[in-house]
C-alpha cells in the first residue's frame, strides 16, 4: 500500500527574470509504514516539494503538471478548504524550529486540547490523551507539563512536544523537515530514536527531510536524492548508500567528512554551482559539474532501473543484477 504517491510533478515560480522551473518530473512513493528520506543540498527543491504536498506554495508558484495522490485525492486539485481538513489530522508536520509550532502564550495542555477540537472527546479525555503522548515522548512529569508554557521547556523538549502534537491525531503521514538540525549530537540521536518508536506505534509513514546524511542512514528505510529540483536517484537506504548509481549521489556521499575514516586536512567538495533554474539545461542537470560527462548526457535523462526499487536518472548508470 502506498500512502503518498507523487507522479511527474512539475512546479514553476514566476519571477522577474522569467519562469523558474523549481521541480521537474518528480516521482516517488511513500509506502505504508515506511520512513522515506529526502536528501539534497539547499536549493534543491526539498522545501518546494513539501509546500506543494501541503498546498502551501507561495502566490507566485503553481503546479504545472503531474499529481500528488494521497488517500484517494489528488492534492493538486483540492481547494483550500479541503486541504485544510487534511492538514493536521491526516498529514502532520514538524519543522526545524519547534517554537514555530508552539504558541508562546498558551499553555501546552490548552494547545493540545485545541488540536483535538474535532475529536468529540470531553476535556478530561482530551487531557488524558495529551498526557499519554507526552509520556511517550519522555516529557518528565507529563501531567504537570500540561499547565506549563513552551518557554519553560528546553530546546530538545520543545521539539519532542512539537512531535507529540503532530502525532496526537494519529495522521497517516508525518512530514518532518530538518527536525533535528538545531539539536546537538546526543539530543539528535535521542530524537531520531523517539521518532522511529512513535512511527512504529502509530503505524504512520514519515517523509523525512534532512541534509544530514548520517541521520538519514540511521532513520530511513528509503532515500530520495534530489538535485536542482529533480529526483536523481531513489532506492532503499542500503542500495543508495552502499551502491550509489548517480554521480551526484556518489559525490555527495564522498563529501561527508564522516565517510573519511582517515584524517584528511583537505575535505572533498563538488566544484561548480547549482544551475540557474530559469534556464534549465535540456540534458542532464548535473552534467556541467560531473566528471563523468559523456555525449549521452546532452539528451534529456530518464530514470533507469538499477535493481528492484533502485533508480537513477543518469545515462551512464548500469543495471545491476
Amino acid at each position: 500500500m502506498t500512502v503518498l504517491s507523487i507522479t511527474d510533478l512539475n512546479v514553476f515560480f514566476s519571477t522577474e527574470g522569467g519562469d523558474l522551473h523549481a521541480l521537474r518530473d518528480v516521482s516517488f512513493d511513500v509506502p505504508e509504514r515506511r520512513i522515506v528520506g529526502i536528501v539534497g543540498e539547499s536549493g534543491c527543491g526539498k522545501s518546494t516539494l513539501i509546500n506543494a504536498i501541503l498546498g502551501l506554495l507561495a502566490d507566485n508558484g503553481r503546479v504545472g503538471g503531474g499529481g500528488i495522490h494521497f488517500e484517494g485525492h489528488d492534492l493538486t486539485r483540492l481547494g483550500p478548504k479541503e486541504m485544510q481538513a487534511l492538514r493536521g489530522p491526516r498529514i502532520a508536520t514538524v519543522f526545524q524550529d519547534p517554537m514555530g509550532a508552539l504558541n508562546p502564550v498558551v499553555s501546552v495542555g490548552a494547545q493540545m486540547r485545541n488540536i483535538q477540537y474535532r475529536s468529540g472527546l470531553s476535556r478530561s479525555e482530551k487531557d488524558a490523551k495529551s498526557v499519554a503522548i507526552l509520556q511517550k515522548v519522555r516529557i518528565p512529569d507529563a501531567g504537570a507539563a500540561l499547565a506549563r508554557y513552551p518557554h519553560e521547556f528546553s530546546g530538545g523538549m520543545k521539539q519532542r512536544i512539537a512531535i507529540a502534537m503532530a502525532l496526537l491525531m494519529e495522521p497517516a503521514l508525518l512530514i518532518a523537515d530538518e527536525p533535528t538540525t538545531a539539536l546537538d549530537a546526543t539530543l539528535e540521536v535521542a530524537t531520531i530514536e523517539l521518532l522511529k518508536e512513535l512511527q512504529q506505534d502509530i503505524g504512520c509513514s514519515v517523509l523525512f527531510i534532512s541534509h544530514h546524511l548520517g541521520v538519514i542512514a540511521e532513520l530511513c528505510d528509503d532515500v530520495v536524492v534530489m538535485y536542482a529540483g529533480e529526483v536523481v536517484e531513489r532506492g532503499t537506504t542500503r542500495q543508495v548508500f552502499n551502491n550509489p548509481g548517480h554521480p551526484y549521489a556518489a559525490r555527495l556521499l564522498e563529501c561527508d567528512p564522516a565517510r573519511q575514516s582517515e584524517r584528511v586536512r583537505l575535505l572533498p567538495t563538488i566544484p561548480g554551482e547549482i544551475p540557474d533554474l530559469r534556464h534549465r539545461p535540456e540534458g542532464c542537470i548535473f552534467a556541467p559539474r560531473c566528471d563523468r560527462r559523456a555525449p549521452a548526457c546532452e539528451a534529456r535523462q530518464s530514470e533507469l532501473p538499477l535493481q528492484t526499487g533502485h533508480m537513477a536518472r543518469c545515462a551512464l548508470a548500469e543495471a545491476r543484477s
Partner: protein, 328 residues
Amino acid sequence: MTALLEVRDLEVTFRVGPMLSRRDIKGVAGVSFDVSPGETFALVGESGSGKTTLARAINGLQGISAGSVSFDGQRIDGLSTGAMKPMRKVMSMMFQDPVGSLSPRMTVGDLVTEPFRIHGVSVDFRAETERLLNLVGLNETFADRFPHQLSGGQARRVGVARAIALNPRLIIADEPTAGLDVSVQGEVLNLLNDLRERLGLAMVIITHNLHVVHHIADRMAVMYLGRFVETGDCEQIFDAPAHPYTAALLSANPEPDPDKARNRISLPAEVPSLLARPKGCEFHTRCPWASDRCSRDAPPVVDKDARKIACHYPLQPGARPPVAEATP
C-alpha cells in the same frame, strides 16, 4: 613555543532571576587553555555548555568575573572598548549566523572593506574587495550584491572575507559551517585551512559536528556546564576518549552508513540547570559509570598522557557502560 592565546581560570557570571531572588550563575566556570600560532583548537559540547560565551569572553564582547586572557603575552581582559579596538584587528571573530551578522543595507563590497574603514587603514578599497573576494572564492560581481541576495554558503564566505581582511593572527569561528550542505561545508573548511597554512593563522573553532573536528582540529576541549571535562590532542581523544561524557558524545555521532553497528552510549537527555549544579562531579547525574564517590566529591583535573581529564575514573580504551552490558 609560546602560546598566542592564553586563557587562565576564566569565569563568566550572569545575574538571573527577579529582583528579590537574584542569583549568579556561572556560564563559564573556570577554564584554561593555550592556542599556539598555526594551531586549530576546537571547542565542542552541547548547546548551553558555554562555548559561545567563552568565545565572546575571549574577544572582550562579554565581561569576565575571574581569570585572565592574554594575547601574545599581553593581558587583554578588562580592557576598555577603546583599548580593545586594536586587539580586534589581530583577533577576529566569525559569528554563528552568517546572514544575521551582515548588515542588510550594505553591499558585499562595503561589508568586506568595512574592517579597513573601522580601523582607519587606508587602502585601495576597490582592489582590496577584489583580492578578498577572490581569496574566498567569490567573483567580483558579488561586490554589488546585498546580503539577502546571497545563499548561506556565500554569506559564510563573505563572513570569512571580513574576518581575514586585516590579516589577523587569530580567528575565533563560532559554528562556521552550521546549516551548510556537506560540499559547501567542505569548501569553507578547506578555505580556512588553506589560510591557516599560508598565513600561519591560529583558530578557535566552535562546533558540534564532531566529524568536522576530527578532520581539521589539532587539539580539542569538551565542555560540559561551563567547564572543560577533557582537553587534549584530537586524534588521541577520538581514538580513546577518557571522560565518559566525551565517549557518549563521540558514540552519538550519526554516521552515514546504514550497516554500521551502533554501539551507542545513551545518556538521559536532561541537562542539569546551571541554577542547580549537581554536587560532586557535575556529570554524575547522567553518567552511566557514576559511583557514590562521584556524587560526593568533585573530581580534580588530572594530567594524563598530555591530556587533561576531570574524572575520578577515566575510561580505558573501548570501555562500555556497565548498565548496558547487564541488559541484553
